[in-house]
């Protein structure tokens, strides 16, 4: 089982319960191809990197895989993503917000319109409310400077100062 794969995270468990497997496979085959692509191919590497960046445990990594799976399948309201991350991963609100932003802007970006559509279909009432009360998952906010609780060390030699180059 690959804990970083939203598709595989609970597959063994699902496979032992035919009805739940039936429900899952039914939902999965109905997804657009780009969402399937995220779930099967893009997400595992992304979640692994995220876990590395935020020092997430395997359990936290498994939970973030489940959250991503649930959002992609339309089982979880995207407006609740930040709070759900905070609750399930037991992270502070700010970090949960950062992870949410990262997911929306980077992982979901190729399929953002299809994800919005699924969310609107599954949560027609909440999408309207969420737009007023909570940040809209489909509308990425301007990139905020990384303020990680335990930010990864950055090799300054890898950064090119474009201003200096342009001035020089």
């Amino acid at each position: 089982m690959n804990i970083y794969s939203p598709y595989e995270i609970d597959m063994e468990k699902l496979s032992s319960v035919p009805t739940e497997l039936e429900i899952f496979t039914h939902k999965f085959v109905g997804l657009p191809r780009n969402i399937k692509d995220i779930m099967l191919l893009t997400a595992p590497g992304f979640i692994w990197t995220l876990a590395q960046n935020y020092n997430l445990t395997e359990e936290q990594s498994g939970n973030i895989s489940r959250i991503i799976r649930d959002i992609l399948l339309g089982d979880l309201f995207a407006g609740d993503m930040s709070q759900t991350i905070s609750e399930r991963l037991e992270l502070d609100q700010q970090t949960a917000q950062q992870i949410r932003d990262k997911l929306v802007k980077e992982l979901f970006a190729p399929a953002i319109e299809d994800i919005k559509k699924i969310q609107r279909e599954k949560f027609p009432d909440r999408v309207g409310q969420g737009s007023a009360n909570t940040p809209r998952p489909a509308m990425p906010q301007p990139p905020a400077p990384p303020q990680m609780k335990n930010g990864p060390p950055v090799n300054q030699s890898n950064i090119i100062n474009l201003r200096q180059n342009s001035n020089s």
Binding site: S15, T25, V29, K36, P44, Q52
Partner: protein, 676 residues
Amino acid sequence: MQLKQRQKIIGVVTIVAFLSFFLPTHFVYAFWWDLPSINDLVALFFQTVFNLIGGVIAVVSTALNYAVSVRAGGDIPVVATTWKILRDFSNMIFIVLLIYMAFATIFDQGKYTFKDMIVRFLIVAVLINFSLVIGIFVIDAVQVLTNIFLGSIGNIGDRLGQYLSPGELLPSSAIGTASLAGGGLVSLIFAVILSSILLFSMLVALAFAFIRVPIIWMLLVVSPLAWMSHVLPNSEQWWKKWWSLFFGWNLFLPVYLFFIYLGLLFLSKRNEIINSVIQVGTTTNPANTPLVNTLTNGLTFNLLFFYIFAAVVMVGGTWAATKVTSMVGTGFDKGLGWAKGLVKKVPLPYVGNLQGAEAGVKARYGQFQQEGFKNPWLNKVYGGKEAQSRADARARDFFRVGERNAIEKQEAAEIATNKAKIRNMNTNDLRTRMSTGPRVQQLAVRELLKERNQLTGAEIIETYRMHGGDHTENGRKFIGSVDYGKLSGTERTNLLRESTDPTVRQKIAAVMAEKGNMGTTPADHVDWLANNARELYAQGSERIDFIQKAEKEDFMATIEAKSRLAAAGEIEIRDGAAIITTVPDILRVRVQKMKADALAEVDRDAWGTFGAPPTDFFTEVQDKIRALQVAQPPVAGAAGPPPIPPKPGGGEVFKANILKEVTDNRKLRIINTITP
């Protein structure tokens, strides 16, 4: 010759005897024992002639008076009886005309067709029975005009006698015989000439006045034929001529009387006219001076002028009457045309006006000429120019003249023309016309519906058959452009059986393979694929491509069909350099070559059932995935910094790609069980 001589003599004697009736009853100076001089004899001769002419003028004036009073119309038994005969005859001709019109319409003979003739035909059919009444009505109407002039003039002879006294022309009796040697003889000759002119002019008028009656009667008698001639375009000139003559001869009399009236009016005022022109007293009027000085009689310029004037009026009036009436006849034609135009412009409900309706009828008739009857059965009787073109094309095909398949090309052109006409019609309207009207029109409608994807499978097959199936190029073209996926399995099966065109059959069979219309059991599928691949394609590669079209429906049947053909040497499948023919080998090689998306589409039966023993196909796919995983093993992630994510193995990626393409959750569950 002798007979002619005798006839001449008898004729002259008869005329002389007849003229002797008009000789004067008394002679002067003529005694046989008292021999007269030459001058006397000459004077006697001219006087005799003068008296003779005077007598004839008296008779002619009486006859003229009678002639102008004769009414040409009214109830004339001879005319009515003869008219009835000709009317009945004309009614009989109507039947012939109807038959002629029918044939002319069928064979499209110019102006004799239904469109050109029917209106006039109906009008004439009705009015021909009233032709006598109409003729008499015209005569009576003209008679009213005639009566006005007759009432004003009275007796023409009396009037002429009143204003032109012939006695004034003779030398005065007081002159005596002595004067005859001089101006008296000249005066006498003038009197003869003038009275001759007067007689001639009166004779002309009398001739016309008399002859008009039988002519009008004759015109009345032949009026049914004249009306009948109005039906046929080429004989219409007779109708016009009849009206021209009829109006002309009817109007002759009032016009002539008008001129006579004018002339008599002039004569009655001759003194006033001369005085007002000369503007001198009557006694000193040079016009009243004798023309010959030695004469003392009244042969003055005045008298001479008015005699000549009277003659001119008599002859000129006749001439003018004939001219004017012929103009009236022509004018009648023009007036009739103008009246027609006016009537046509009168507003009418629904059709605007008669002119519009006529244009509409002409347009509709043009369409009828082009397309013939709408009813398919009647269209066989008359199909218009299109049918004629088809018949021509058919004949060319039969006799092998000109280009090949002329009939089909003709029909294709007609279909294209009809399609262009109805291209803007909505689909519902098109559907209502799909099965009505001539076959070519139905085909045009159906082709348009097909272009709009509005034909059912059954209708497509029906249309294909209407085109003539594979026997015609149009049929082949039609069926070749059909989306066979819209047909039902049965329709496709029937069409494959019915069609003989190889290309069409290949297309249909390909769709049948893709849709799984290959029979009931897997064994049927194998047979169907092998047989059709063999039958429809010559090349081995084409046969393989055809068989593989059924992979989504029955993958294993395709493998077995290939195996059967490979074993028979009808196709060649290689595994590297080796030729393979068995099912396992062919299955393995095929799965190895298939991409993830193609494998994902393979039918559920090939993948097997969740929880059941794996199928051969499943095992081959699993082997392939595992082989890929071995060939491209996964790469573990590096913590970094920066972290480098793990890279999945080739088998994992291939499986993920299959999962991504699968649309059947039962297949998904089976594929999930593959472990790279």
